[in-house]
């Protein structure tokens, strides 16, 4: 199959408008004849479900949590970008587009990214109208702050809880439609497969996490809004329940998986303290606005800090290396995330890290507190400082924070065309779960933007075109494909429950995480990746022989839930390694040690790799087939990214 991204012809700034006109419409009286399934209720899912229901479609929405409001979008801290140019500092749709393409290291589509920048302004209007309490200036107008990878202030925020407020906005819109009867909400329901009939996605199989009942649901279209797969690394900033299962099962039914190796390692997270650790906590990138990153200039001083013989305040100004400010004078502490993370790793690898483990750098607010006063700093970041103190038992108003990079976001995901449709007709993918807009590195405050852009302003147009084409005849859920998919899911559950092994699911998950972090983490080599491939294959074989899954299906069984998710993570891990091996260039968050500039920056190979790698599942124990979608750049010039 040839990949057709369906990017509209014509000048960049006119593509989306022209396309909207070319898309078919479903007439208002016919919309109620269509059922649309939405899986996941984060920013993308909740906004899509609400918007489609408002249009008149019958929506069935699913989440595995006890309420749609718990989706992990809720934890996004820093903000959401929009090209409003309220601060009058030179922003524009084109600049947001350009920053995002460049920030993604020229591995995303011009057309998609431009559309994202274009609708960004509508998102802010929409959220304000819903009653989202964004931060404001004393004059009553909206406040903005700056974020990594940009030299303008275009980030809207609600304290350090922007994701929470945006999600609660989308949740409220969803609630309104539930009350009106246009959305049927299924909570504590996990999607375990997609049903394909005549080559089209026409339903899903779910497991009720309370009763264990396996159900089939039919729909004219299925939207996966199921988030990212960062938990393949075991330790990440994702929620404990975040998983790849819905996307992975869809992949095995025919949806291509694009750029799986593009993972974002976020520079400002609280360092690991021990083996018991279950997750990592992010400190918002917005902290880099006022915090300065440093380590000691010499190994000797670092060692004294690590042993606890010296404290941060004992290190004289002249003995500190503010390495980001030194190496990147124009962006300073606000370089993009991949650059900041790699530099943190580099100074720690040199032995100049701080903290007991030596795997941390300082993020210091002393200057800002001196300049602005503690109350002003507290007003901006109070909840983040509190969270830091809660976890580390250190007061960041008095001592610098210790931070280290951690897995945060996955730019890869199911391949989608300009309409957000996967390679499986009728199956759409929105938000972090798709691959579309961030290239090889996502800029801060762009995830919320993309999730809401997809849900509020893209899918309501594009799904209509598909629905109009297939017509409103009811989906026949008595087709044998439904029963077959259900039986397969039940069989898989039975197999898992029958494994009476010796190792826990968490042990397998932790092992997988170690392999991925070691060989497919912040820097990668062909040799290491080859090794990882073997290790993961062994792990997979062992898992299906020796894992312990306790209890039964017909009850709440968190052991069974985890087992299914980790089994999928292991398979995904193998594909990520294959993708990372194939891409023998460095770009964004994907750093191949073999491909770097003399200064140690990521060196792209545009002649060979300016493409999207979309992988097709070919069967268990078979290598996946690689399909390439060439990336065509008509508006921006591909250059070595520089933040100096």
């Amino acid at each position: 199959m040839k990949l057709d991204a369906k990017i509209p012809e014509g000048p960049l700034a006119e593509k989306w408008n022209k396309h909207k006109f070319d898309l078919k419409l479903v007439n208002p009286a016919n919309k109620r004849k269509y059922d649309v399934i939405v899986v996941g209720t984060g920013l993308a899912g909740a906004s899509a479900a609400a918007s489609l229901a408002e249009l008149g479609y019958n929506v069935k929405a699913f989440c595995f949590q006890d309420s749609p409001r718990r989706a992990h979008s809720i934890a996004a801290q820093g903000g959401i970008n929009a090209a409003k140019n309220y601060p009058n500092d030179g922003d524009s749709v084109y600049r947001l587009f350009y920053d995002t393409i460049k920030g993604g290291d020229y591995r995303s589509r011009e057309g998609n990214v431009y559309r994202l920048a274009e609708v960004s302004v509508n998102i802010i209007d929409q959220c304000v109208a819903q009653g989202v309490p964004f931060a404001r200036e004393y004059g009553g107008l909206l406040d903005n702050r700056s974020f990594g990878g940009a030299q303008v202030s275009r980030t809207f925020y609600a304290k350090g809880q922007t994701g929470q407020q945006l999600l609660l906005g989308a949740y409220s819109a969803l609630n309104r439609q539930i009350e009106l009867g246009k959305v049927k909400m299924y909570t504590r329901s996990e999607m375990l497969d997609v049903v394909v009939v005549d080559g089209k996605a026409q339903g899903i199989i779910t497991r009720n996490l309370i009763t264990g009942q396996v159900d089939t649901h039919s729909g004219h279209a299925v939207l996966l809004c199921t988030g990212g797969y960062g938990n393949v690394f075991y330790l990440s900033t994702n929620a404990m329940g975040s998983n790849v299962t819905a996307a992975w099962r869809a992949h095995k039914k025919g949806a291509y998986f694009a750029n799986p190796c593009y993972t974002q390692i976020h520079p400002t997270c609280i360092p690991v303290t021990g083996d018991h650790q279950s997750k990592l906590t992010l400190m918002s990138e917005s902290l880099r606005n006022d915090g300065r990153v440093w380590v000691p200039k010499t190994l000797e001083l670092s060692q004294k800090l690590q042993k606890g013989e010296l404290k941060a305040k004992d290190i004289k100004e002249a003995d500190r290396d503010y390495y980001l400010e030194r190496k990147y004078p124009s962006f300073g502490n606000l370089v993009p995330r991949d650059v900041a993370s790699r530099n943190a790793k580099q100074v720690c690898d040199e032995g100049r890290g701080v903290g007991k483990s030596g795997l941390a750098v300082y993020l210091d607010f002393a200057d800002s507190i001196g300049r602005l006063g503690q109350p002003a700093v507290a007003a901006k970041y109070g909840n983040l400082f509190d969270m830091y103190q809660q976890i580390t038992d250190e007061n960041p108003y008095e001592v610098p924070m210790r931070i280290y990079p951690a897995v945060h976001y996955t730019m890869g995901g199911l391949w989608v065309d300009y309409n957000l449709m996967t390679s499986l007709p009728g199956l759409y993918c929105l938000g972090e779960a798709n691959f579309s807009d961030h290239g090889a590195n996502r800029l801060g405050a762009s995830a919320l933007m993309q999730g809401l852009a997809d849900g509020y302003f893209v899918i309501p147009y594009t799904v209509g075109d598909y629905l109009a084409n297939i017509g409103p005849a009811p989906i026949d859920a008595s087709r044998p494909e439904f029963a077959k998919a259900k039986a397969e899911v039940e069989e898989k559950i039975k197999t898992l429950l029958s494994l009476n092994g010796t190792r826990t699911v968490d042990e397998y998950h932790r092992d997988l995480g170690h392999i991925m972090w070691e060989y497919c983490g912040m820097s990668r080599t062909a040799e290491g990746l080859q090794k990882a491939k073997g290790l993961i294959a062994d792990l997979r074989n062992s898992f299906w022989k020796d894992v312990i899954v306790v209890g039964e299906n017909e009850e709440v069984n968190q052991s069974l839930e985890k087992a299914g998710r980790v089994a999928d993570f292991i398979e995904l891990g193998e594909l990520m390694v294959d993708d990372a091996l194939n891409r023998s260039e460095s770009c964004g968050g994907h750093f191949r040690e073999e491909s770097q500039t003399p200064e140690g920056e990521a060196l792209r190979k545009d002649d060979e790799f300016a493409y999207v790698a979309a992988w097709e599942f070919k069967g268990i124990n078979m290598p996946e087939a690689l399909h390439k979608e060439e990336l065509i750049f008509e508006n921006v010039k591909l250059t070595q990214r520089s933040y100096k």
């Binding site: 304000v128 819903q130 009653g131 009553g140 021990g274 018991h276 968190q558 052991s559």
Partner: protein, 252 residues
């Protein structure tokens, strides 16, 4: 390692909503003070699974104190002994070696136990569905800066909106009242200009749904405010009462 603790846990175990539950005692040994409370339970569960026993089920997800999924009444206090802290952000340094810790689910008629420490809080969703929104559809809204909002008002609305919907207020209240939760949402919209058109209808609908779900009334003990991990203020309840009375006045 020094500083590690050996603890005794008394944990509420209940197979499902129809089977009676009971306390079961577990040992939690070699617990590091740097662990979070839920990580301590992870360690206990890992041992149980190794022994092929059913792990202790509890709700949790983000482990950053924002999703509102974690719960647990710890030694009689919702979210445990530390103020303004969710269970997932509670660390074992708040406990001492040889402590006995009693762990229960939220106790309220409107939050039936699903299994062990997991409860069903869908009543909260139904209250939100009754009116916790501004009735605007996607598209066709004014520019975000068209209506200036005083910073004081916006900040106040934000303080109310910060509620994570965990239900600790209900668990803390001797009447199992949900008024702090409901009033936080009513306040957010009552304060903002966007909430004005439906201000009174919303207050009425949400309060009626709250009553229908079987939550108790408020008798001003302020236990909810004391236990709220996000420090939602009881002044929200005063505002809700005012909104509700006004709604009734306008109708009559």
């Amino acid at each position: 390692m020094s500083g590690h603790m050996n603890l005794t846990l008394k944990v509420w175990r209940q197979k499902n909503s129809t089977t009676p539950g009971k306390f079961v005692t577990y040992k939690a040994d070699e617990i590091s003070p740097d662990m979070s409370f839920l990580e301590m339970l992870d360690v206990v569960n890992e041992d149980l699974v190794k022994k092929k026993e059913d792990p202790i089920h509890f709700d949790h997800d983000c482990r950053e104190g924002i999703c509102g999924m974690c719960s647990l009444v710890i030694n009689g206090e919702p979210h445990g002994p530390k103020r303004a802290t969710t269970t997932c952000q509670l660390h074992m340094r708040s406990f001492s070696d040889k402590d006995t810790i009693v762990i229960e689910p939220w106790r309220a008629t409107a939050f039936p136990v699903v299994k062990d420490l997991v409860t069903n809080r869908s009543s909260f969703d139904r209250i939100q569905q009754a009116g916790g929104y501004v009735s605007v559809g996607t598209g066709g809204v004014p520019d975000a800066n068209e209506i200036p909002i005083s910073k004081v008002i916006a900040d106040e609305a934000m303080s109310s909106a910060t509620c994570i919907g965990c239900g600790a207020c209900v668990a803390a209240c001797k009447n199992a009242s949900a008024m702090l939760f409901v009033s936080a949402k009513i306040s957010q919209f009552a304060l903002l200009p966007q909430g004005q058109p439906e201000r009174y209808a919303r207050a009425e609908a949400m309060v009626l749904q709250m009553d229908e779900e079987g939550f108790g009334g408020c008798t001003n003990t302020y236990a909810c405010e004391a236990q709220c991990p996000k420090e939602i203020k009881v002044t929200n309840i005063a505002r809700m009462n005012r909104e509700f009375f006004n709604a009734e006045l306008i109708k009559s």
